[in-house]
Every structure is written in C-alpha cells, then in structure tokens.
Symmetry: C2
Subunit: 426 residues, 2 copies
C-alpha cells in the first residue's frame, strides 16, 4: 500500500477512534487535525499538528485525503467544497452535508477527478455502502429499509424493556453518550431522513431531498403503546425506507409496529439493521453496531484503506467515481402511501365517544379492523384502533379532525403497521 | 464500463441464472459455454456457442474472463489452471477447488497477473467476501462463524418444524432441488469445511486444509433431539467456525445447540447467516439466501461487474491481487476445543445404567451439569446429558468407551452447545 498523507477535521468521539485505528496503519500518515477546542482533554494524542484553524488542513498541499468528522452542515460543507476544489479526496461521516448537498458535491468531485467515500455516513460500522456498491452490482435494487438510528433504537428498546417514559429513556441515552444534548435530529427522524436520502442515491442513482421525505419521530410514543404492541405481537421501531414503485421513488421515516417474528424486530439497543431487496439476490439483511467510536471509525478507516490501495493506479478517479448522480429525484406523494395503522386516542370516558370516533373515521373512508376501549380510572379512557390498509393522508386528516373535538384529551399516537414489505403505494 | 468477453464452464442451475442476469449487461458478452450434455433441455438460450469441449472455451484467446460453475474438483481444477496460465481472469463458485488448491491457484494468479473472484463460493447470494475484503479493511478479524449450508439448514428446519426424520427431510430437500442425489458433501459437513477454509484464508491470510478441520455432520440427529433442544431453549444448527485464538487458527464444523435468542437461531430454511467479529467493528451479522439460482448468479455477475469496471485500468492486477496467501496454515488441535455438550444415549432400561454412564464420564474427567432419564416404553430409555464445558477429545473418548458397553442400544447423538462465542480452546 502506498503511503498516503491524511488530514482530519474534527476530533470528537469518532475522530478519536480514527486516530486509534490509524496507529495500526503505518502507510496512512495523519499530518494535521483541526479541532474546535485545543484545551479539551483527549484520551489519545493524534501525534500530529493540531490546530483550531481548519483552513490549514484544507490548504495543506501535501494532504491528499481529507477525513471530515466534525458533523453538521456548516462549516463542514464549505470546507469539503474547498478540499475538493484543491483536488483532495474526501472521506466523510457527514450524512447531513451529503443528503442536503450530495448532487453538487458529487458533480464537483467528478469535475475535479477526486473520490468521495462515505461508508460511515449510514449505519455506523455496518459496511452497507460497500455492500451495495461492490457486492450487489448485478442487482437492480427494489428497496432498502430498516433501523438506521442507534439513539432512537436504544430509547425504544429501553422504553419497551423497562417500561420507561420517553423522557427517562432519552435522559439515559444522553447520560451514556448515545444522544446529544439537543436530541432533535435523532428523535424527530431528521438523521434517518438524511440516511434514507443517501441510500436512495445509492440504490436508485439520485438523491432525494430530505425535506421531501415523509417524516415522523418517536416523541409521541408512550409506555402504554409498547404494552399494546406486545399484545398484538409487535415491537415498535423507527423505520426508514426507500423503495422504487412503478418507476417512482418512495421514501419515508416513521415509527412502525414491526411483527415480532420479523428479523428487524430483534435488532435492539444501539444496533442498526437493514434489509436490502435486489431483483436477483432477493432479501438480504445486515445487523451490527450503528454508532459508537470504534465501529464508526472502522467505516472511515476502511474507506481510507480502500482508497489508498487504489490511489496510485492510473485512472484511479474513473474507477472510483461514485455512480451517484448529480440530480435530485422526486419522491412520490407521501399521502398516497398505504398501510394499516395503530392509533391510540386518550378520550373522555362518556357514552357516545366510540360512535363519534367511528363517524370521523367513516367520513374519511378509513375502514377499522378493531377498536378497543380501556377505562383508565378517573383519567378517562384509552381507545386503541387498528385500521385496515389506508392512505396516510386519510389518517392524518381524521386525526386532525379529532384533535378539535372536545372528547379528545391528548393528541393521538399513530404508528404504521409494518407489513414486512418495503412499501405500498396506491 | 468496457466491453468484456466472457466464457463459461457449466450451465446447470447457477450457470442458467448467470445467463439470465447477463442479459441486462450489454457490456458483458458471453461468447462460449461448455456443457456436459448438449441435448439437455434448458429454459434459456445462452445466445452463444455451446460445446461439450471445455478446452475450446479455455483456449479461446478472445475470452478474458472465465466463469467456472461446473463444480467438483476435476476437471474444474485443471481447466482453471489452464485458463490462468493463458492469463484469463477467473470468476468461480467452486468452494471445493478453492479450499483444496487455494494456495497454488492464488500463487499462479499472482504470477500471471490475473484476478480470481469467488464471491459465489461462500454463502450464495450474500456478498460476504466483498464485505470482508472491501468493507472491513480497518479490522483485524477475530472470527467468522455461522450457518453456511442452505441444504442442511433446510433439512434441520423441516425436522424441527414438522417433526420429520432426517431421511424424510432429506428426501423433501432432494425433491425440491435443494439437495443432490448423493447428499454426502452437504450432510456430512464437507461443503461447510470448504467454506470455512476459504473464510479462514480471507480472515487470517492463509487457507487451512479442509482435512484439518474438525468436522461432524447431521445424519445422527433425530426428531427427539429437537424436542430436547426446544425444552432447553435451543435450536439445532450446523455451524462452521474459523477463529484466531492466541495466534493460532481454530476451525470447526459441527451441529450445535444455538440459544433461541441468538440471532443465528432464527436463520431458517435455505438461508445462510454469518457473524463476523472484528476488533474495531465488533459483531456484524449478514443473513440471506445461501443458495438458489438467481442469488448465486447475483454473486457471480456481481464479481463480473466489479472486474469489468476495473479491467481497463493500468495496474489492474496489482489492485485486485487477492490478499489471500499461498501457504497452508495449521489448525489448533481440535481435541482441545472446549464446549458444553448435549449427549443423548439410547440405553437398556435397567437399574445401574445411570451409574455406569456417570462412572465413564467421571473416568474421562467430564463434569455433568444435568442428566435426565426418560423411559420409552419397551424400547428402553433415553438418557440426556448436558455437560459442563469440556474438551472435545474427552467427550469422544467417553462415547467410544460407552459404545462398547452392552447397555448402549444405539450410537450416541452428541451436539455441542453454542455459547454465542466464536470458540474456546484450552
């Protein structure tokens, strides 16, 4: 393997892991690292120049490959663009930058004949990107779906196993370093939407805009929902999906009731689990650590190893030009997506409530499979409804109508029932 | 992608799948196919020259890549050697040839500057080889283990689910085309041993001789063993393992009691499931179709796509030279492998039998965790023993001693209890 000089932006948890793993790779020389805070105590010395000036890393002509593990949209985007413009190859874990700016970045990389490697941006240590790019080349991919966020999977697992509230499970995740102080990106599903955008680009050739992806988070789920899920034979998981349906791309992030026998149901804690469907291979599943210092660093250093093995080849760039396109692709109208739904409503416990709920569902042409009312002492009653498969738009409209009704005490919990399929669109 | 001219040896189930998938890849031109029987009815026309003369394919100077899907040791080995000598790249599904002759083949390929691709040789459609080679480059692998044979997994699943005998489940597998007329390779574990040899080469740099791998098949397992397994919380799976322990390589094929909560326990039917352990990534699992026409063809055509993408690069060979070595590596003494064991003995039902069994185990320093005797009407009794962890050698010695005792009615069933770990060696 040829000697390759590397620079790195960011030395948080993942960057520290990269430094640890690079100590085994004598041909990969880390020359400069840029950090936010020089005085921060670190558990490993990168053994190279550290600076708070990221430009020094990006402008160093000896550096051939830039590792970007600072995260967030800016200044990461500008620094990556500058590095590509000065013809540095990029290894990044930054799903937000890729999902929001993938088309322009890959276009620029093609022009400048450099490669962008991004194994660490999706599914942590699971080599999902290389599997899709190198292992499934004979396949037309039909769908990619799964559990793509370790933080929310940890929270949901804690809530299920220990009966904890969302808030308590989140606090535990924060204490363990699995969740950030501001957990919005994870718990509202933005992080998964970024990953779905990247997976759609890999699978179907073009990125989808994260804002075009139908997205619901897990903050509205309560311990009682896990009890109902168990009773009906489900586990609750935050599922991201990208699928090709009748030539269109469907993309979606939402909590789902996953049948207990489906392999994704047993992916617990901070693990990720992904199911890929190809026209030749059929269904393939990968499970492994979706986050964590060394697993994520494993993905980054794996990219570096692949890159450096090939870097001295003539025509390197033509080989490693990513097949990812430089256009945005449209997502099919999310309101037409069809799924059975689990809906829990907290209502005043008085006669006629079930009738009113039934009328609202009927007016929205939602066919109910079962409806169960449970008295909850003075607090009123829980009404649990399982619908037949129905368009998302109708469910959202019915729930919006009910929220304005007096008999509803709290906003509704609404969880799609996962049929093991990638998707259904009317 | 550059146009690449391809030849193929064999057009059975997998070869037919390759022809089907190649119709989507206009730059991959199949020029010649060699078959055993020209008159055999085929469900697809390869659209090229068909001959019973394999030499015509191997000697055609226009053919750059040879797909070998005839299987078996000879004449496949000689034809592959000839093709490498005339500087053709090889894409093969032949685990037997690779496991028995890997070191010489990879040495020859390096000399002749050609690549050998072998994704289809292990785990069917699961892109396990590319994942290890390209996805986990930052890792020192510690172990690879799992369910590597779809035929035996189908048979064991049928026996478990339907209470069928081994013979009935085998007949069903044969009727469905999952098992060959002579099933020895599958049911005696030879096929898995070949795969373990290849995985050891990928993970630890050198092949191990299939004959050096401790191997036991599934023919001695009876429906009653599944009942006992269920009672104790296990499923019975044929597990292949390769692991590095204290600098040595351990390799092993045997039926195991897999705890029902372990992810491998839920890999059923003809699926394969593999757990890879790397020092950085931790535990990674892949599950998918381990056999079948299109999944296996997916692996072969995937190799072809990767090969053809890079074939026109200068220095192609230096990039694709497999890191697999050209030496054999020694396997640690299998007798020192430690595991708890499930042992079932069919005995005469008269007083003192349990005492005699206990004495024989004691004489071999095997510590018994539990022993249960069950009367089986006039036929005698079943004695089921669960041992504490003990060396394989001691268990085999104890069973050999008991077989010569009059009170034993039939040879013993002996199944290792899988602890979720790759291995334990004293």
């Amino acid at each position: 393997m040829a000697r390759v000089v590397v620079g790195m932006l960011g030395m948080g948890v993942v960057g520290t892991g990269v430094v640890k793993l690079l100590s085994n790779h004598k041909t990969l020389t880390l020359k400069r690292v840029a950090v936010k805070d020089l005085d921060k105590k670190r558990d490993i010395d990168p053994g190279c120049q550290i600076s708070i000036n990221a430009e020094e890393v990006v402008n160093d002509p000896e550096i051939e490959v830039l590792i970007e593990v600072m995260g967030g949209e800016q200044p990461a985007l500008d620094l990556i663009v500058k590095a590509i413009e000065s013809r540095k190859h990029i290894v990044t874990a930054n799903k937000e930058v890729l999902a929001k700016h993938g088309p322009e970045l890959f276009k620029l990389a093609r022009e400048k004949e450099v490669a962008i490697f991004f194994e660490a941006s999706v599914a942590g240590g699971i080599p999902l990107i290389s599997t899709i790019q190198r292992g499934l080349g004979a396949n037309e991919l039909e769908s990619i779906l799964g559990i793509l966020n370790g933080t929310t999977n940890f929270i949901l697992s804690e809530m299920e196993e220990k009966g904890e509230s969302f808030e308590a499970a989140l606090a535990k995740a924060q204490a363990l370093g699995f969740a950030e102080a501001d957990p919005t990106n994870d718990v509202e599903g933005f992080d998964v939407a970024y990953k779905v955008s990247i997976l759609a680009a890999l699978a179907f050739g073009q990125f989808v805009k994260p804002d075009d992806i139908y997205r619901r988070g897990i903050t509205h789920i309560e311990p009682i929902d896990f009890e109902h899920a168990k009773e009906f034979g489900y586990r609750i998981k935050l599922i991201g999906r990208a699928a090709r349906i009748n030539g269109n791309v469907a993309a979606r992030v939402e909590p789902c009731m996953v049948p207990i026998k489906h392999p994704l149901a047993s992916v617990s804690g901070s693990n990720n689990g992904i199911v890929v469907n190809g026209h030749a291979v059929g269904e393939l599943m990968m499970v492994g650590p979706g986050a964590g210092q060394l697993p994520t660093a494993s993905a980054i250093v794996g990219d570096l190893v692949n890159l450096s093995t090939a870097l001295r080849l003539q025509d390197f760039a033509s080989y490693f030009h990513s097949p990812v396109g430089d256009q945005w692709q449209k997502v099919t109208d999310p309101e037409n997506w069809i799924s059975p739904y689990y809906i829990r409503l907290e209502v005043e416990d008085h006669p006629g409530v079930i009738g009113k709920i039934g009328s609202i569902f009927g007016a929205n042409q939602i066919s109910i499979q079962s409806i169960i009312q449970r008295g909850v002492e003075e607090k009123g009653a829980s009404v649990v409804i399982i619908t037949h498969p129905v368009e998302t738009g109708r469910v959202e409209k019915a729930i919006a109508t009910m929220k304005s009704e007096e008999f509803i005490k709290r906003s509704a919990t609404c969880i799609a029932i996962f049929d093991g399929k990638s998707s259904s669109v009317k």
